[in-house]
């Protein structure tokens, strides 16, 4: 198991390295001008040239990249080119918001998705058909639209939740929960539907296999067979779906954060993009990729725990 985890971790890190390297050179090729982004439209060409020099943009791209990578490996992501903030500080203060949302959305999606998937698989007929329709509907609703509707109904009209803003967990656990509930619901609806649908189909497939019939003929209870044997074999595809949903939640958070006025990593990325703030864009990308790699690793480990054959593949 240790070598499996090491292998997966190494692959994850290689992937992160490839993505950030590719992105760095891609950003340099887009014609973005961090110096102009930092100074604004009315800065003279001379001022822009001076800023370009200050930011080190007049050096060869490879040199800039090696410089950035070397600093990043030492934990220094540099200074934002558009605002007077260390990129690391910006990310450390904003990442908890986005990770709270994405993890919360995935946990909610996992619990409800598994429950609904099992219910749909074990109750064929009207219940399954109704759930199917609801799941397709849930999957097809854009999360920004859901976010707007939720804010309107539960925050603006009913006043059960704050319309905007994030409360830090350490400041008020209750306030924190209230501030992230609606964004999490908005982010998780599609994921619940996707996981439920995936699990339903897997469970139905596994339930029809010979070994399940054999177990049933030996007198084991339906619940025992479902939870111990069927679910164990049916869950890997749903787990894969879960990790994909986490990635979707991380990107979806950018939009949902704006609707609820949350200053997460998504809001940072959007603002940085408008100002061509490459140090911030790179920092956000690096952290996002690392979080995704770690979550995928966790899913892989879970996958391997459920299915020992995976460890040797």
């Amino acid at each position: 198991m240790l070598s499996f985890v090491t292998r997966r971790l190494a692959m994850g890190l290689l992937l992160a390295f490839t993505v950030v390297t590719g992105m760095f050179f891609f950003l340099m090729l887009t014609g973005s001008d961090p110096a102009r982004g930092a100074l604004g439209l009315y800065a003279t060409e001379e001022q822009v040239a001076v800023k370009r020099e200050q930011l080190g943009l007049d050096r060869p791209v490879v040199e800039q990249y090696l410089d950035w990578l070397g600093s990043a490996l030492r934990g220094d992501l540099g200074l934002s080119s558009a605002q007077n903030t260390q990129v690391m500080d910006l990310i450390v203060t904003r990442l908890p918001v986005t990770v709270s949302l994405a993890l919360g959305a995935v946990v909610v999606a996992a619990v409800l998705g598994i429950a609904l998937g099992l219910l749909a698989a074990t109750r064929p007929g009207t219940f399954d058909r109704v759930l199917q329709v609801v799941m397709v509907l849930g999957f097809s609703l854009p999360n920004f639209w859901v976010a707007i509707i939720l804010a309107l109904v539960f925050a603006v009209n009913l006043r059960w939740f704050p319309a905007t803003g994030y409360v830090h967990l350490q400041d008020s656990p209750g306030g924190w929960l209230l501030s992230i509930t609606l964004p999490i619901v908005a982010l998780s609806i599609g994921s619940i539907a996707a996981i439920a649908q995936q699990l339903r189909n897997s469970v139905i497939t596994v339930t029809n296999q010979d070994y399940v019939r054999t177990l049933r003929s030996r007198g084991l209870s339906g619940r025992n067979i479902l939870l111990t044997h069927v679910l164990r074999n049916a869950s890997p595809p749903a787990l894969t779906m879960l990790s994909l949903q986490f990635i979707a939640a991380m990107s979806g958070a950018a939009i949902v954060e704006r609707v609820f006025g949350l200053q997460g990593i998504g809001a940072v990325a959007i603002n940085a993009s408008g100002n061509s703030d490459i140090p911030v864009i790179m920092g956000v990308l690096l952290f996002t990729v690392l979080v995704v790699v770690l979550v995928n690793l966790a899913v892989d480990i879970l996958y391997a725990a459920l299915n020992p054959k995976v460890r040797n593949s």
Binding site: T30, L39, A43, S172, N271, S276
Partner: protein, 506 residues
């Protein structure tokens, strides 16, 4: 059914319990002694030399006091400078300074502080740098008097001194560096760093001993940035903020939600026909073609449908309350496709022509197809060139385009508009076009004052409309929404009304 009821009750109970332990889902920050403003964006720097125009002015006004200030109709009046006077040829401006004012680090405000600030502003890249360009030298006459020596007369200078150019920061803080992250001004409030969180909320507390306290009645001001209009509107209706800059489509709902709606003529939207010499698009070099474009637009229909009627049709690019405005000019180009075709034929384009029109992607995107349709109706094919962000190469793209659509600010005095769009070095005159009349008037206007200057501005505006340098469509109304517990006095030609125009409702 029973299960549903149970679940609903449980959900409500949990929600109420959570609301209880967090002080309620709707924590209203506003009170009679506290003003909470929703802002369009974050403040990226506290250095007045780097600040850009726009909504960021509220952050600046909280901590910095300007030398002069603007009334609601944008007339200039004294502030930190108690008197101001030009010499006969308008190349020297003498300012008498208020005594007894200190910065929040206890440094005294004096003539030397003004000199240090204006010199710093000249070096910066913010909005102030444009207005500061004409200041050749700042002479400290005595402790309470400074004289600004100008390279040429500048009608925009006083307005500049009433905002970013005139914001006074502590010279000690400027010398030490760090003004970008920690504001040290002589303004009405102090930034309360302990109750502020970057990008989330900025709390300002009343500064003891501020000389003009009565003009700023709130003990505390909180500014909360919201990039997204929906979030800002929801925050307003639920009492998290008391004021916001809105959009025309919000007006009907805002009225039913019990909000106060105010409007002020704001930006003009339309086309800058910048290739007036026909370098890239030869057709645009013919005034008849530019006039045809103006005749091809059904401004009234666009105003009613696209802008929901909030604004006025316009052929002019100046502010309606400015000295350059000539109401009758709006009748110059009635919607007349036949006339447009006739002009095109006379110019040698009976079958029309194709023109590239660039535009800022996003908020201009819905208007572009409408304009393209009207121009298409008279034979002009619009090739759309979207520009995605000026910092992302957009500015460079725009420079080569014969025409582009944007939303443009209108100002008082009109000189700011002149500097933005009409001089050969203006940012929005990339082809550096001018003509003899404009050159003459741009020389005569700064040297004139009062009625004589207003007459010259009107002559300039009339010439521009006649020569169709632009194809404006509307001057739209800026929309401001506020809660009934505050009174806001609207201000002409400033994106956000100044902080001193906010007060608890009477």
């Amino acid at each position: 059914m029973k299960l549903t009821r149970t679940l609903t009750a449980a959900f409500a109970a949990v929600a109420l319990a959570l609301a209880g332990c967090s002080g309620g889902g709707q924590t209203t920050e506003a009170s009679s002694s506290q003003l909470v403003l929703g802002n369009n964006g974050d403040v990226l720097t506290w250095d007045p030399a780097e600040m850009k125009e726009g909504a960021v002015i509220h952050y600046a006004e909280a901590v910095y006091d300007p030398l002069l200030r603007k009334t609601p109709d944008s007339t200039i009046e004294p502030n930190l400078a108690t008197e101001y006077e030009y010499n006969a040829d308008l190349t020297e401006l003498t300012l008498k300074l208020r005594d007894g004012v200190t910065f929040s680090d206890d440094t005294a405000f004096d003539a030397d502080a003004v000199r240090v600030n204006l010199e710093a502003r000249k070096k910066g890249a913010g909005s102030a740098s444009e207005a500061a360009r004409v200041i050749e030298r700042v002479e400290v006459v005595d402790k309470s008097t400074v004289k600004l020596h100008l390279s040429e007369p500048s009608p925009g200078l006083l307005a500049g001194l009433a905002t970013y150019l005139g914001y006074m920061a502590s010279p000690k803080a400027l010398a030490a560096g760090g003004i970008a992250t920690t504001p040290v001004g002589s303004g009405p409030y102090l930034l309360d760093a302990g109750n502020s969180e970057k990008g989330v909320r900025y709390t300002f507390t009343s500064r003891e001993g501020y000389w003009n306290r009565d003009a700023f009645p709130f003990e505390t001001v909180v500014i909360r940035p919201y990039e997204e209009f929906t979030a800002r509107y929801n925050a307003l209706t639920t009492g998290q903020i008391q004021f916001m800059y809105g959009t025309p489509d919000m007006v009907p709902k805002a009225k039913t939600d019990g909000l106060t709606v105010a409007t002020v003529p704001g930006e003009w939207q339309g086309i800058i026909l910048q290739d007036r010499a026909g370098k890239v698009s030869p057709a645009l070099g013919d005034v008849r073609v530019r006039q045809a474009i103006n005749h091809a637009l059904d401004r009234k229909a666009i105003l009613d449908t696209h802008y929901g009627g909030l604004g006025q049709v316009s052929t002019q690019t100046f502010n309606p309350a400015s000295e350059a405005w000539v109401p009758s000019l709006n009748e110059r180009y009635p919607y007349d496709p036949a006339k447009a075709k006739e002009l095109l034929t006379a110019a040698g384009y009976p079958d029309g022509f194709t023109i590239k029109v660039s535009f800022s992607e996003g908020f201009m995107s819905p208007l572009v197809p409408i304009v393209a349709q009207y121009l298409g109706d008279v034979g002009i094919t619009v090739e759309q060139v979207p520009v995605n962000g000026f910092a992302n190469g957009g500015l460079e793209t725009l420079k080569g385009q014969p025409a582009f659509m944007l939303s443009f600010s209108t100002n008082i005095p009109a000189w700011t508009d002149v500097l933005n769009k009409l001089t050969p070095t203006s940012l929005w005159n990339n082809f550096q076009y001018t003509d003899a009349t404009v050159t003459r008037l741009l020389k005569e206007i700064p040297a004139a004052q009062g009625d004589q200057q207003a007459a010259l501005y009107k002559e300039l505006n009339t010439h521009l409309v006649e020569q169709a340098w632009f194809a404006p469509i509307v001057t739209q109304e800026n929309v401001y929404l506020s809660k009934p517990e505050i009174d806001v006095t609207m201000q002409q030609a400033q994106l956000m009304p100044s902080l001193r125009f906010f007060a608890p409702a009477k």
